[in-house]
Symmetry: C2
Subunit: 123 residues, 2 copies
């Protein structure tokens, strides 16, 4: 139940700190395996899950994409997905009128917005 500071967990947290972008489980495995050989996939999933529950990581799920995770502590934001380079960019602000789209009787508690196109570099 407690939170032991193991070699594996240190390597996994480190992978996220050094990445500076959302990582998928396989990417975490690749990065953390450098420090910890024989690192198992189960450990990745278990550790990532606990880090999400602990509020240290935030899940970043894009439509049709495998789930990724990024460091918590950022302001509410959305993402811009460049079709050309595949990079994910953070956006500031939030669109208006989301509440007005909600049908009568429905209870809105969260939303997800993803913009697609080309980033400044690829355009």
């Amino acid at each position: 139940m407690s939170d032991r500071d193991t070699h594996q967990r240190r390597a996994i947290r480190n992978a996220f700190r050094e990445a500076g972008r959302p990582l998928s489980p396989v990417e975490v495995l690749a990065a953390a395996s450098v420090d910890v050989p024989n690192l198992g996939t189960a450990t990745i999933y278990r550790t990532v899950k606990s880090l999400v529950e602990a509020g240290w990581l935030i899940p970043v799920a894009l439509p049709g994409e495998p789930p990724r995770y990024e460091l918590a502590g950022k302001d509410h934001h959305h993402h811009f997905h460049c079709r050309a380079c595949g990079k994910l960019f953070e956006l500031e602000g939030c669109p208006e009128g989301l509440r007005q789209l909600t049908p009568p009787g429905f209870h809105l508690d969260a939303h997800e917005v993803v913009l697609y196109g080309q980033c400044a570099e690829c355009a």
Copy 2:
């Protein structure tokens, strides 16, 4: 390669017409099984895939969820995902200010908006 009008395919197309909302493969199976007992999951996937390629269905991918499909030819719209029953509902309209979120130099060509909460039935 041709497109034979089988009992199974008729039932599957019918399921989408009657649903009025995006359906996942399992939901299609449940609906179409009423007309065609012993309907296999493989048939669902194969038929849905061909219907998408034929432009009769549109894939609706939302973050962290299995893909769903809806009838093609509808106006631009977004979706509401009920956390309680897991159903996906169609919304009318589109939020304002999406373009303003786009950083300078970026080229916006599409967007995805998903609202989360509880539907009228579950609330």
